[in-house]
Symmetry: C2
Subunit: 418 residues, 2 copies
């Protein structure tokens, strides 16, 4: 009997290292060709499975698969699509089974965040609930760092490094100019619910920069904030503000949503940084500059954390090894052994404990005044940004990021309407 094939898909917002996990999955499967057949990748995540749009990764060279480790984004395409429960939408699960059967798929590797862990958990139940034998393993991935049990999530360390380094560089810039020009620099970062990414901006205080963080965990207080900015500028000549996109007022309304409109009365698309800049300008008259990093932060493979790349790869590899060991409904995790020197190992979590649980920043990671981070937070963060893992560059000066052939397997089934 030939070995069962595998299905791998990327889900949710992509990161600069999710392809390193894909690399770990595919390279490890290739090493176990006696037990795992072809690795099919879903085009655009789980949608690829439902629509039977399967990439045949065996058509990709070893060199191209290895290059995934150094390429940001989702090489197979990702999606935001959450399967409903088996009871609510049995049709989709039925379809998954048909596709799995048609392509002899016995392993399901799903690479994503909290919603994806939920989807993966549902797929892991197919064997028990619908009699189709499949092992479903989840590989954690999220810049938001909000999955439970695992010490951290692949994707986060690189964003943290990018934000810490970028905020430091821009702060040096502002400091140079503050005498006659800009006095406050505001950097908007991702993290609608949890302030993990914003916290990384707090590390620059260790490098002499006066910095204030606006966390989504702390209700925004206009007067306290303005007073804090004033004090920093008076003491240091300048100030850097790192604001989470999820910063909000006590009533829960986002700062970014304070009704900005263009001259035609159309609502403007968000951006909390300009709102904060406007507040400071109005209250204190300081010249401000602001940046919104948006996708730049989660795509910045050029400044990835070596720790992050290593862990992303290791968890992809571990998922395959766990599958080979007969596991189902499991997610490999990062278990921290020590902070300094940083040591970690691969652990595992049951998906039932991971799905739909959001890990917030511990309250003792945020300083008493609400605008900074604690030593405990520093101890947690630094190991995750350790080391550089540069991509290669071509002779023109651009990074060598791989674009896969992504050849689709011939369809065997009728069309499926999403």
């Amino acid at each position: 009997m030939s070995p069962k094939n595998a299905f791998y898909a990327q889900s949710g917002g992509v990161t600069s290292v999710i392809n390193a996990s894909a690399c770990g999955v595919i390279e490890t499967c290739r090493k176990h060709a006696d037990r795992i057949g072809t690795v099919f990748a879903g085009r655009n995540g789980i949608i690829g499975a439902l629509c039977e749009e399967l990439t045949d990764t065996s058509q990709e060279s070893d060199a191209d698969i290895a290059a995934l480790k150094k390429t940001p984004s989702g090489a197979f395409g990702s999606c935001r699509f959450k399967l409903k429960s088996l009871e609510e939408n049995k049709r989709e699960y039925q379809r998954l089974i048909e596709v799995f059967k048609a392509h002899d798929i016995g392993y399901f590797f799903y690479n994503g965040g909290g919603d994806s862990a939920d989807t993966c958990f549902k797929v892991s139940q197919l064997s028990e609930k619908m009699g189709y034998p499949v092992q479903a393993l989840h590989i954690p991935k999220t810049v938001d760092n909000d999955l439970p049990i695992t010490d951290n999530c692949p994707g986060f360390g690189s964003v943290a490094k990018y934000i810490a380094v970028s905020a430091l560089e821009a702060s040096f810039d502002v400091n140079s100019m503050a005498k006659t020009s800009t006095k406050v620099f505001i950097l908007e970062v991702m993290g609608r619910h949890a302030g993990w990414i914003a916290a990384a901006g707090g590390l620059i205080e260790d490098y002499g920069v006066p910095v204030l963080i606006l966390f989504p965990e702390v209700d925004f207080d206009h007067d306290r904030f303005i007073a804090a900015v004033k004090q920093k500028v008076e003491n240091h000549g300048y100030c850097t503000v790192v604001v989470s996109e999820g910063a909000h007022h006590a009533d829960g309304s986002f700062l970014a949503e304070q009704g900005a409109q263009d001259s035609f009365g159309h609502a403007q698309l968000g951006g909390v940084a300009p709102v904060v800049a406007g507040m400071i300008k109005q209250a204190l008259g300081y010249k401000c500059h602001w940046a919104v990093a948006d996708y730049l932060q989660r795509a910045a493979r050029h400044l990835a954390s070596a720790t992050d790349v290593e862990q992303a790869y290791a968890l992809g590899k571990a998922a395959v090894e766990m599958a080979l060991a007969g596991k189902n409904a499991i997610m490999p995790t990062v278990e921290r052994i020590s902070d300094n020197p940083y040591r970690w190992k691969v652990g595992s979590a049951n998906l039932v404990d991971v799905a739909n649980v959001e890990k917030m920043m511990p309250p003792d990671f945020i300083s008493a005044n609400g605008f900074g981070i604690t030593d405990k937070c520093r101890q947690y963060l630094y190991p995750l940004i350790q080391g550089e893992a540069y991509p290669e560059y071509d002779e023109r000066g651009m990074p060598r990021y791989v674009v896969l052939k992504n050849e689709l397997v011939s369809k065997k089934l009728v069309e499926f309407e999403l």
Copy 2:
């Protein structure tokens, strides 16, 4: 007779490599200690000279001066301050001479853009017009790349590399997600008058990315732009837009100035990227993401171009050598010898030909439809982003950027009111 001392100052918006020029100046002066005495640096640029706030760079170790080559921003502080003409404000020139006399300064090295070249030229005339013997040399620096005669300006190559790489990475991200989420990514870049930086975003077309550039050189036409976005998205599934902060309508009004207001009716601080995102969303319904790079782009020493760092250092060094050769009112330049392989040498320009002249993008660098760059432009740009010149990182994962002691020399004169 002991050798004359030197004065060095940084001017205007800082860059990720202006300190490399400072390094070139100071290291070269140290090699010629028999002919140049102490190098004083102006705290906050020319203001430091007027206010007699002079940093004694001889107090800095060789290692710290060498570290300037890998540290972004202006290590001595910069300013936006333009000297008026000798006729309009003789008082300031009189003061400069007093400070120069008091500290035995015979060499004036000024590191900046177009306005600074003008200031430097005025100082170069002090000998002739006011009888004080000083040699004034200008070292070019501007991310805007708009100085004449020199093939390019130190500072630009690194921004160009940052924008090209960042736009490529974010485009890979959007491409991953476009099936179910974001279809257009908009990146706002610097360049109020000239589209050099925006042009660098056009390089990603060579890497398979559908990209549209909004140049300040091309009047914005809403309907043509929307049609172009629609076509790119229909053909490729997604599209990246790189927009210059200076993009404007035919009547000259900036896109960023279209009167965005917050809910209290206060004008919002600019940002053309959200305006463009709003237009696309409204006209085509596509989900957009946008980023404003702002200071991140010009401070990003972590992704500097090796060519740029080398040239920034070389022109600082050349300025000192030209001074030693008896030159005055000169700016060392980059002279391109060949594109491929890229070869260049140090040339020189007379400051009278540099001051207050703005070099625009040649029309034949912009594609016929106005949204892209030509092969001629590519040939010009690629050499400038060649090579990587990474900073060192500490054991925690942060770059080792130097902060100088910046000890001020004791004042010998009365206070001066700016």
